[in-house]
């Protein structure tokens, strides 16, 4: 669909305005991460620093074991994402294309799990983890997240829009159901998978409540929990916290941009065009 010059310009202008509103908080945060603490609360608040310092980044690395937190976050978010992609797509596919007795009821049950606030269920969950003796371990952190209701729902929707012909062809060819799933269906939904992967990674990377509850020691804690160490009772050290936030965005951004590439490749491969 080609755009006329006028339409193109109109959209560009509109998005520049929207973009500014979206950028402003980030710009402020990034610039604040190189301001000395006093300027962050300065009078008046200024976007651009009059004095620049890398002190916040130095504090970030010297005051907390930043790399340890980073690694823990990678293991947690990465492991959970990989597992979730597998399990979510399997379940989503089954709900979409492999009907069995009671599957719609079970699907509703899955949705139901999204409807109870985590603040309430985290206490019983914590007690279960305690019983299994896996508090403060990677296993404890990751087990409840190996699959995810949102992911299952998302993949189901993706699979729903795939024509049945593809499955029929596979069945006629004598490819087993598992084969159909891995060799025919997955390649078609690669775009959705990479999108979901970014979402899962992002959500678990930034999750605070669950890792905070499950971990006690620095060896196991993730980045958001670590950055909270700069939040004093009376005094908040905004500078290092923003520096930490800036750095913690970087990995996700890279993953997001990389996923974009698969995105485009995925569409080309799915053979939907034309």
């Amino acid at each position: 669909m080609k755009l006329s010059r006028k339409a193109n310009l109109a959209m560009l202008v509109a998005f520049l305005a929207i973009g500014f509103i979206f950028m402003l908080p980030f710009l402020w945060m990034t610039l604040s991460s190189i301001k000395p603490e006093a300027l962050i609360r300065g009078n008046p608040e200024q976007l651009f620093p009059t004095r620049v310092t890398m002190g916040n980044y130095v504090s970030l690395f010297s005051q907390i074991p930043f790399f340890r937190f980073l690694i823990n976050s990678f293991i947690f978010a990465g492991g959970v994402t990989l597992s979730s992609l597998l399990l979510d797509s399997m379940a989503g596919y089954a709900f979409a294309k492999l009907p069995f007795k009671g599957s719609s009821v079970i699907f509703i049950l899955v949705l139901v799990t999204m409807m109870v606030p985590f603040q309430i269920t985290m206490i019983p969950l914590y007690l279960i983890m305690n019983k299994f003796q896996i508090l403060n371990t990677y296993a404890g952190l990751m087990l409840p997240r190996l699959t995810n209701a949102f992911g299952i729902y998302f993949m189901r929707q993706s699979f729903l829009s795939i024509p049945n012909e593809l499955m029929d062809a596979g069945r006629i060819d004598g490819v087993g159901e598992t084969g159909i799933f891995f060799r025919i269906m997955i390649p078609v939904v690669v775009a959705s998978l990479s999108t979901l992967g970014v979402f899962h990674f992002m959500y678990n990377w930034n999750d605070f409540l669950w890792p905070m509850l499950m971990t006690n020691t620095v060896e196991m804690q993730t980045l958001p929990v670590g950055l909270a160490l700069f939040q004093g009772e009376h005094v908040m050290e905004h500078g290092p916290m923003f520096a930490g936030a800036v750095l913690s965005i970087v990995p996700i951004l890279i993953i997001f941009l990389a996923a974009q590439k698969t995105f485009i490749k995925g569409i080309a491969l799915s053979g939907i065009k034309g």
Binding site: E45, Q63, L146, E219, Q231, G232, E233, H234
Partner: protein, 415 residues
């Protein structure tokens, strides 16, 4: 592809089962939770390291997290039987846990202590740590509210920067001079940043100036003639533009640090931040009101949990903590006054931290606000904050607001 994924997940799970801390045998491990994040943390960590190095039979395993987090985790930990041995908590919060039987009584440990003499510690804090006749909490950090003022803004307003207001009357006079408005009548400079929620108690200082108070013997005395006068004064002050309405403690701090408010009641932790923000900082004790001078005192106490198996070891740390050397180090590096009363003439202390004299002077008349009241947190959130907001916003008159607060408070206490 699938096999790799499964392999990775399996590896993660298996390593996970072995990760996360092993216990050292032969040493008594004391798990210590506290909320000293922020700039105080390195000092605390250093002191704990020194302790661990000096003791071969005891190891303090400290876990630091924001206070919110600490209390969120404490509940499930207690249910699961994983509670820490030693907990620091704000002096206003321990009573709840003491009442529920979750804290150990320290009386025997105090009696048999060879190094710790309770009479040398701030009496207000010791009294506050005593619940229903038993001592459950020992002082960890003591702080009092003093009055910070911006000397530059004082000079501009024609006030003497060396002479801070010493009485309420002088304070009110200063307010009038410090408020600056622009052409459309909006306030561009406030006289005093007064926080009403999520804050150290600033409003109570004013209540105490008039001789009003909140609780007595477990009953509400909030609806008194003195309280009405105090609230009316505040309502008028806010209308005049002394402070923005609805400030949290943090916002009040930010306002003062930004130079947009000339005065703030705050504690010792704020000094470095304010000076770092370039404020020409004046420190003085809070002004005296018509019925006297009282300020808020408090901060944190150390408690031992009832279920702890290493109570003596934990007590040993408490003794260490309140010792002369530790308190000196703490006071010098963090800026809090010491928990001991015998350091008023400590030369090192005075030389290293000249500001401390204001806090030391405030200690005798500091009140530990609602310290032994288990429902203190709820009272603040459900009765006091709505009261302050209603009065300062002008949505309710002082009498009506106090009457409603009194009713709510009585109902809450009866629950």
């Amino acid at each position: 592809m699938k096999k790799i994924v499964v392999l990775i997940v399996l590896i993660a799970l298996v390593t996970g089962l072995y990760a996360g801390g092993t216990q050292e045998t032969g040493k008594k491990t004391v798990v210590f939770w506290n909320g000293y994040t922020g700039p105080d943390r390195p000092v605390l960590e250093e002191l704990v390291e020194q302790y661990n190095a000096a003791h071969t039979d005891i190891e303090i395993k400290m876990e630091i997290m924001p206070w919110d987090t600490l209390f969120q985790k404490l509940m499930p930990a207690m249910i699961a039987g994983n509670a820490p041995d030693l907990i620091a908590m704000s002096v206003g919060r321990y009573a709840e846990y003491a009442q529920a039987g979750k804290l150990a009584s320290l009386d025997d440990l105090i009696k048999s202590s060879k190094t710790l003499d309770v009479n040398k510690l701030v009496p207000g804090m010791i009294a506050a740590g005593n619940f229903e006749g038993k001592q459950y909490a020992m002082p960890m950090a003591f702080a009092a509210l003093v009055m910070y003022y911006n000397k530059t803004l004082f000079k501009e307003a024609g006030l003497d920067p060396q002479k801070a207001p010493a009485t309420l009357a002088e304070l009110q006079d200063a307010w009038k001079k410090l408020i600056k408005k622009d052409s459309s009548g909006n306030v561009v400079q406030y006289a005093q940043a007064i926080g009403v929620k999520s804050t150290v108690p600033m409003v109570p200082v004013f209540m105490w100036m008039y001789g009003a108070d909140y609780l007595k013997d477990g009953k509400s005395i909030i609806n008194s003639a003195e309280a009405v006068t105090a609230m009316k004064m505040l309502a008028d002050a806010f209308k005049m533009g002394v402070s923005p309405v609805g400030l949290t403690g943090q916002e009040a701090d930010n306002l003062f640090a930004a130079g947009k408010a000339a005065i703030e009641f705050n504690g010792p932790w704020a000094i470095n931040g304010f000076r770092g923000a370039g404020i020409d900082l004046g420190i003085a004790e809070v002004p005296a009101g018509p019925k006297g001078r009282k300020t808020w005192g408090g901060d944190s106490v150390l408690c031992i949990t009832e279920g702890s198996k290493v109570k003596e070891a934990a007590w040993n740390f408490i003794e260490y903590w309140n010792s002369l050397e530790t308190q000196r180090h703490w006071a010098l590096n963090v800026g809090f006054p010491p928990t001991r009363t015998d350091m008023a003439d400590d030369a090192q202390l005075k030389a290293g931290n000249p500001d401390i004299v204001h806090f030391l002077n405030s200690a005798p008349y500091s009140v530990l606000f609602m310290a032994e009241e288990p429902k203190a947190g709820r009272i603040d959130a459900e009765v006091l904050v709505p009261l302050y907001e209603a009065v300062t916003r002008g949505t309710l008159g002082a009498e009506a607001a106090l009457k409603a607060a009194d009713a709510k408070l009585t109902a809450l206490l009866a629950e």
